[in-house]
């Protein structure tokens, strides 16, 4: 693999504003109940903005009988909806609820890491929308920062699929609650 493009999410900076989530809908005009990216409160003060993690060992790719998934050289895991028959094996196999089944079209879709944008040198729509800079892209083959962690509470086991996402955790803060 030439590149391993992944997300880097700073939980300490994220304010749960949901601009990333809605900007994905704006960019991709996904139907009402299809959420390629969701921001969730997973613990007090901890919010995670998650989409498909474009895993290194994608379970979706492994289980799909139609070979609808491909792993691109830059790391993006892409689904070709035309090949999808709606069996939903990927939906159950993915540890992160990334593939979304649309009962109307009977097809699965998911975050494509905005490859059409990346192919012309733009960042994904969700990354562009994040006003705090909490959500970014990195090449995980070369990126190093001791302060990052591979997992946070509320995120699923990372050993199965080796997801292409790393995190900055919350920093401790001083609080004075009412006496």
């Amino acid at each position: 693999m030439f590149k391993r493009t992944g997300f880097i999410f700073n939980a300490d900076d994220c304010i749960n504003c949901k601009a990333c989530e809605i900007s994905c809908k704006n960019e991709n005009q996904t139907p009402m109940n299809i959420q390629w990216r969701t921001v969730k409160k997973v613990a007090p003060e901890l919010y995670l903005s998650l989409s498909c993690n474009h895993c290194d060992s994608p379970e979706c790719f492994r289980v799909c009988p139609e070979r609808a998934f491909i792993k691109r050289k830059d790391g993006i895991v892409q689904i070709d909806e035309n090949l999808c028959t709606g069996c939903q094996l990927c939906v159950s196999a993915c540890p992160y609820q990334a593939p979304q089944f649309n009962p109307e079209t009977r097809k699965v879709s998911k975050c494509q890491m905005c490859y059409p944008r990346q192919d012309i040198g733009m960042v994904p729509a969700c990354v562009e929308a994040c006003t705090t800079g909490a959500l970014n892209l990195v090449d995980l083959n070369t990126f190093e920062d001791e302060q990052t962690v591979r997992n946070l509470p509320g995120f699923s086991d990372v050993t199965v699929t080796n997801p292409s996402i790393i995190f900055y955790p919350l920093k401790p803060r001083k609080r004075y609650f009412l006496q």
Partner: protein
């Protein structure tokens, strides 16, 4: 409309006033992005902005003018614009004949769209001569007057400069929810070592991010500011001489702080431990430049004016007057520097009535009911959702009963529209031209018409043009509204040579290339002016007394903005309403135990004005005496809010946060 990318501006009552790029194909809005040329929003929008396509193409949007009879029945009938204009103009003229003036006709408009051209509503009414009109500002007036009183003019620092400071202290504002774009400047400062402090009764999303969060009893901000001033003064102020010179009343202020402020008393009142005060005083004393942000929240109670004055005084003694990079934030009113030609349009002179009847908008319904000779008979509602947002609802219902015609202009069939006789479909900001200027940042931007109107929707300006034309057809000379003027003419006239200079514009077309920022932004005050320190003895005594009045019910109801709405706007946009938020009532663990209330059970909050049923959510960080609920929804919280009679001669904001309620478990029989 040609395919391509257009410039729009979000016109909401919001700190962002974001620059939008609209992608249009075959006359349809395909998507939006932020405008990268906007130096404050920097190419980003908030979640609501990103939901624009759904806000525009929404099956719940009003498509045609409609009339319902009887009012409130839901028995709506589509009518043509011409029929609507005929009915409305007929009524206005008939009232004029009956009462000999237009005083029986009035409007209620507020902040639904802050674009310059939406003053067409005011301009239209002005064009009839004397009528009945709202005055004041329920949202921000108290703070505005307090800032004015201290600095001699309105003033709020440049928000981008917050990135270059060493201390940021936010009193009662929650930018992580209501002003998301500001967070990046705060983080930028923090990355270069600044300290970020939040003082708020609620442990908000912004508070979660602060280096130091200080929880405070609601309405006691002035005391905390006095307490910090006390610590600083006792330690000795380095540049006391220059503070004395730059201010009026330094010695009295010092004397007051020294003799009347006692830290353990402050601690008792505010609930803030002395240790936290020491920390804050240490920061205020040593970290320069420092910025202080007066949030709107602290002036939503009857002590708001004192709070802002006390905080300003603290800022004055800690560098705002001497250090050019320090800052004081509230909001600014630079829009008032524009000609605002529609707002200020001069109508015809009436032979014996010299001016319009003013009604304080913070108490509109009560004041309107009190009017006689003539009573108010016709009401026009625009940019406003009274039924979910205004207080004193009981008197609103009385007023509605007295009104012979109610017309509401809106994009959606709001609760207020449902109480009207006629609804007129309003254009979204993508379907009309406008000009916008921020009230937080200093950017001026254009709003192009980027798509054709949704069905028969029209802008406030277009409606004003057509209705006044109809009035003149039926009664020649009734209105002097310049209906032949196009939106672009109005926009160009706002851009006077002086405004062009201030925003470095050579022509209107410059704005089509991107937003422009004001070049000179007032820093604190001109040299000739002096800062007026507070308090004078009288105001403090007054304050002490007002605090002794014990309110009969025990919980203070706070109803701040939620993330995905602005007041009731966006409540019908499905992308933004996937989670249940609206009927949640948050209460403290202590209150939950006291009333034996479990999480997720139905509870009722009530006072003499009514009751609201909601789902209990126990918030362990909430002060014991506070109940938190959101605005709008099916069961709007404003039912429990009334404005007490106005005390200040110049008016005030609405003291939404002075509403007191009690709690009980919900039982069928209570209903």
């Amino acid at each position: 409309m040609k395919d391509g990318v257009y410039r729009n501006t979000c016109p909401r009552n919001c700190f962002g006033t974001c620059g939008i790029l609209s992608y249009v194909k075959n006359g349809r809005l395909m998507k939006v992005t932020g405008d990268p040329k906007h130096g404050y929003t920097k190419g980003r929008l908030c979640a609501k902005g990103y939901a624009s396509t759904q806000f525009v193409y929404n099956t719940q949007r009003l498509k045609y003018p409609m009339i319902q009879s009887p009012r409130g029945s839901g028995n709506w009938k589509r009518i043509s614009w011409d029929e609507a204009y005929s009915i409305i103009a007929g009524k206005i003229i008939e009232l004029n004949q009956r009462f000999g003036s237009n005083l029986a006709s009035g409007y209620n408009k507020f902040s639904g769209n802050l674009g310059f051209l939406h003053y067409a509503v005011e301009g239209m009414f002005n064009s009839f001569g004397p009528h009945t009109k709202p005055v004041g500002n329920p949202c921000a007036l108290t703070g505005k007057l307090a800032v004015n009183q201290a600095f001699g003019h309105n003033f709020s620092s440049n928000p981008e400069d917050m990135a270059d400071t060493n201390l940021i202290v936010i009193w009662g504002a929650n930018p992580a929810v209501t002003n998301v774009h500001q967070m990046k400047f705060i983080y930028e400062a923090r990355r270069s070592g600044a300290k970020f402090i939040v003082i708020d009764p609620i442990f908000t999303r912004t508070a979660e991010k602060a280096d130091v969060y200080i929880q405070i009893n609601p309405g006691t901000d002035a005391w905390l500011a006095f307490g910090i001033a006390k610590i600083l003064i006792e330690k000795g102020i380095d540049d006391e001489e220059s503070i004395r010179e730059q201010t009026i009343g330094w010695d009295q202020y010092k004397h007051f702080i020294h003799h009347q402020i006692d830290l353990s008393d402050v601690s008792k009142r505010t609930g803030v431990p002395t240790e936290a005060m020491e920390v804050l005083a240490e920061f205020y004393g040593n970290l320069k430049p420092a910025v202080t942000w007066n949030g709107l929240g602290i002036q939503r109670n009857d002590r708001g004016s004192h709070s802002i004055s006390a905080i300003n005084s603290l800022a004055a003694m800690t560098g705002i007057l001497s250090n050019p990079n320090s800052g004081l934030y509230y909001m600014h009113f630079d829009i008032e520097h524009f000609p605002q030609l529609l707002l200020n349009h001069q109508g015809p002179v009436h032979p014996n009535i010299t001016k319009s009847r003013d009604i304080d908008i913070s108490n509109y319904s009560k004041n309107a009911l009190a009017l006689t000779e003539p009573p108010l008979k016709f009401l026009w509602v625009a940019s406003r959702n009274i039924i979910t947002q205004d207080q004193n609802l009981k008197s609103w219902h009385q007023l509605f009963n007295q009104l012979e015609l109610i017309v509401t202009v809106d994009l959606y069939l709001t609760k207020t529209a449902k109480h009207s006789d006629i609804v007129l479909p309003a254009a979204s900001h993508f379907e009309e031209e406008d000009l916008n200027v921020g009230y937080w940042h200093y950017w001026l931007s254009i709003n192009q018409k980027s798509i054709p109107p949704y069905y028969e929707a029209k802008s406030d300006l277009q409606i004003a043009r057509e209705l006044t034309k109809k009035l003149n057809e039926l009664s020649p000379g009734f209105s002097n509204f310049p209906f032949e003027k196009e939106p672009i003419d109005w926009i160009k006239e706002e851009l006077t040579p002086e405004i062009m200079r201030q925003y470095s514009l050579t022509s209107y077309e410059d704005l089509l290339e991107g937003p422009h920022k004001k070049i000179e932004i007032a820093h604190s005050m001109p040299d000739s002016e002096k800062f007026r320190l507070l308090p004078s003895k009288e105001t403090v005594t007054e304050q002490l007394q007002s605090e002794n009045l014990k309110k009969p019910l025990t919980y203070r109801l706070l109803t701040p903005q939620t993330l995905l709405k602005i007041h009731s706007q966006y409540e019908l946009v499905p992308w933004l309403n996937q989670e249940q938020t609206e009927d949640i009532i948050e209460l403290s663990s202590t209150a939950a135990i006291q009333h034996e209330i479990d999480e997720n059970t139905k509870i009722e909050i009530y006072n003499q004005h009514g009751f609201i049923i909601g789902t209990a959510k126990i918030n362990p960080t909430l002060p014991n005496q506070v109940v938190l609920a959101s605005q709008a929804g099916n069961n709007p919280i404003n039912q429990l809010i009334t404005q007490t009679d106005d005390k200040g001669a110049n008016g005030s904001s609405t003291f939404f946060y002075d509403s007191m309620v009690n709690i009980r478990k919900w039982r069928e029989k209570n209903v």
